[in-house]
Subunit: 340 residues, 4 copies
């Protein structure tokens, strides 16, 4: 049993992390912070945890020593908070965007502020084991979990990077939980229900992450659609030469053959023949699929995740498992629901 | 052509009213107010009106003389605002709750504040033509449109009042637009989507209105369900003596035979054999239906409306039409969409 | 490890059962049947199980000996199927409606056919541990899991049966998964989305089950609302004498104090202050709550479940755990998701 | 007043057409056909028309002479049915896919069958006035309304065809009503709710229509998302040279300045700053918008429609109005609902 803390525990990602950690067999949750809800039970905002924990929120000033500290604090804020708490735990896992981009100019361009601690950025390992980071995670004391749409895109692209042209077009669709708990008018049910809201027609922030990881030239657009959880990316590629469906399938199988959390979903029939986040609620899977145009040149790849799981809290726990040398799927066994 | 103004034009009811009035053939919209959005185009918050009007919001202090003023201002606030503007128009139509209850003690009990202008309450005619108020509306200079769930319940109960026992149980289900544009966390899509939120297990505010209108002893509960628009009430009654389905159907037909906006919906088959707000979006219908238990004593009646139409803006325009001696359905012809 | 089989494994309840059993640490799934899908992998219709099992469907004629057989076959069909397979397993757990009602005349009235095996009905123990059946389940070789709305109602009513008048009104709201996989036009997304479909204004079939269990006179109505999973019941009662909220809370606490799967949810504040199936997806909880009218006489109680879990497959596995003398929550630990 | 008939009146497009025609001031609906529902009232399947019409369905053999016949019959079937009925009306308006493609080989490739009446294809004028066909429609006796996603794409692309490179990528998102009334399992609410179902990762059928109209090389993918009505397309283009946002806005304004049913929606702020079908329910608008990447080369354009209106029945009535030299918006004035 290790002791962990969650800094920023009142949001959706923080709540999902607390759900996973409270139910994790090898973990004791020592603390969760929320300055706004200090002193209140965590199940007042995470009602699914009723009957599972009596934990109450602490203020950020009350964080104590732990084995691992998770940061589910907002972008721009985390780069200030994390360094101060670093002495309290040997291992830090950040779920914000603040330590994802190695290029601090790109950070400034995409997040609109100068990075407060550029010297620390290089300390962070990318928390995406399936993209070649598993060994580094095993040794890491600083882990940065990628953004949700970036994760889906990176995993939908990885097997083909060597086979396709540089330029890729990524279209992302996201559920409402990705907007967080802020609850502005635009996030209200009346305005969001049934909407197809193009919130980033060009230049979505995660372009930079995907480009950094894949070396590709990435053009990304994003639309909010009706769902609470879920991210799907549809990536449009051009093969360097004509490829058959079997070529592409082999590339995916080669890359993901033994991965516990990546499933290849490209079937001939059925309502779920391509990756759909609908069947992933609560699961840590990233489903990936593909289709090849008649010319063999046009290739579409698809990735789907639960944005709060593989796109956030689940990925963080997967990294924890790797780092602790526990079975990688520990506490992440839930397969998702159908129908739901 | 008459000139009208909408005081409180930025909310959902105000927006629906503006849609109806902008498209109404006999009406010119002279003004709409919103202190918060003063100077902005009304289509910034009512995007369905793009291309239909260039109107901008005024402050409340800028209201000028009109033929009719509509009030879509909040409960508790309207009773202060309306009297001040009364000199500006010979006819006032209020959509708030402030002039619905004739008993100001009941008002205080349900709205939590002492009524500011008790002397005016008696001037208002109830804006529900189908409940016997049509003649009074024709003569009225002060009209108060009933609450949305009250409207549905009053119309689902009216034909049977003389045939059933005093005590009635009304269960109301409402879509998210009934919560208004406030946009708190509880109204966010993530928290409201797919919810069945019992927000009034006992003692819903509209009990008083329904009791006032019907003379019955009303027990009401209410649940928010997944829909943007729509109110449905299911009323549980006991016949004074055993009734056949035909008895009940005759009572409904007798009451509603010629009503342009009430349809009797009680069929043997089909997905829409009882009233369902799903097919009423944008329409001014109140669909009413019924079923009789095997014993002939237990009777269930059902009412469904679009809460922003027959439950608010549509009812207000219907009253306007009656008051102006225009065809009652003028500007309210839209039949609803299927499917939608 | 015991070996189990699922007869009727292609529907939603069958699929949920397979999900739970495949993930259950003490169970090996020996077989699942579907005559229609014979020879096909079970993950073709239960896509959440991709990567979890290689099981294929068998025909009903290919059922072999097991330790426990579950029946997720349709009402009316199960009473013929189950007796034939009874020799193959010492313990049978039925999820259909065929062995729930002890009075076969009531069965005929509600299911429209004469019961084919009336002599067997008495062998079945009701699979609802929280209603006083736990000890009987521990010894039972024939268990009949109650209907989903009946479960929610029985648990919302149980603590107050002695304190209230005989007559109760139960209003049930159900998600679309309760209609099964049939997929008729009425179940299509276009017709069901956002609907409030009163499908049983009087005389819902589960009236008989609730009456049998509670001894009350039950009047039940039911409406399909927009949700995939979820059942909620709102029960309207009258206290024999005036009760305080504390009296009612004590009754609930007394009844459910130690129950692992019943939570009392009756809070002053928050979007989830009463039971809402929205936070129960995939969990085996039944949340129960209550409110007391100002007069102390009118009492509303509320129950919420995931209809495929506590309303079906989860309840069946809970019964299995009790019967096998395993921890009651084994394989049922998932707490539900928030938000989802 | 002219007399019209609707061949194939039981589907969603047929029902929407009947709604528009029944409410149209210059039209008398002489007949609607459905072999399956022959003799039944049309409001049994189009419940929004209750109280508006007493029309009953006829069989196809009972079609009589009319001024205009509309065909809302299925693809592949219409090319056989329409020629037989052609003698019955001087003007035919087809909403199926059978007379859209001028190249019958392309038809065969996309619809999977040899065209039955290739000689007639050339008689049909494309029913999209905003794409330069208005004058031809005014004279036409045979009009073919484009496919829903094709309409949205053609209107989102038209102003830029001369300014961009040949290759365009169109990503389409569609609501469930686009799947028709068939009601297979995949269309059930449980499977479709909240889904992001990529049903055409490459090679969607409407590619051919868009290519035919624009002369561009079109690559199209399509995903079913949660909505009943609505189609949105997001088109990815590359400018031949760097363009400013103002350049693009001018191109759109030049093209659509006077169009009654196209609105340019590209704002800096707000939940509806880009085209979203959510605000178009029941309206005949096509909203179009755009965004320009920092490099001035990457351009995204967006189109949104109600698939049953501008994507089908509304477009057909617009063509009727033009053909009859009535005001183009007659019977199509409904502005859409907000919120809904």
């Amino acid at each position: 049993m290790i002791r962990v803390g969650v800094v920023g525990g009142s949001g959706y990602i923080g709540g999902e992390l607390l759900r996973l950690l409270v139910c994790h067999p090898n973990v004791e949750v020592a603390l969760a912070t929320s300055d706004r809800l200090r002193g209140q039970r965590i199940d007042t905002v995470h009602p699914n945890l009723r009957g599972r924990t009596d934990l109450t929120f602490r203020g950020r000033g009350e964080v104590v020593e732990c084995d691992v500290l998770f940061f589910a604090t907002p972008h721009r804020e985390t780069m200030g908070v994390l360094p101060k708490m670093a002495p309290l735990a040997p291992c830090l896992i950040d779920l914000s965007g603040d330590f994802r981009l190695h290029d601090v100019d790109a950070y400034e361009r995409h997040y609109g502020v100068r990075h407060a601690n550029p010297g620390l950025v290089g300390d962070f390992v990318t928390g995406l084991p399936e993209f070649g980071h598993r060994e580094a995670i095993r040794e890491a004391d600083r882990i940065s979990v990628p953004g949700c749409t970036a994760t889906a895109a990176m995993l939908a692209l990885a097997p083909l990077v060597e086979l396709v042209e540089q330029e890729v077009l990524v279209d992302a669709r996201t559920g409402s939980s990705g907007s967080g708990t802020g609850g502005g008018t635009a996030d209200s049910h009346s305005l969001r229900s049934g909407a197809m809201r193009v919130f980033a027609p060009v230049g979505h922030r995660h372009e930079a992450e995907i480009a950094q990881a894949t070396g590709m030239s990435v053009r990304m657009s994003a639309t909010g659609v009706e769902a609470v959880r879920g991210v799907q990316v549809v990536c449009q590629l051009r093969g360097r030469e004509a490829l058959s469906e079997l070529d592409v399938r082999r590339a995916f199988r080669g890359w993901y053959g033994d991965e516990p959390f990546v499933r290849i979903v490209a079937h001939r029939r059925g309502a779920f023949r391509y990756p759909d986040p609908k069947i992933l609620l609560g699961s840590n899977y990233c489903d990936v699929g593909f289709a090849v145009g008649e010319d063999g040149i046009r290739i579409t790849t698809i990735g789907a995740i639960d944005n709060l799981m593989k796109g956030g809290a689940g990925a963080a726990v997967q990294c924890l498992n790797i780092r602790m040398e526990w079975p990688e799927t520990l506490g992440l066994e839930f397969p998702g629901l159908h129908p739901a």
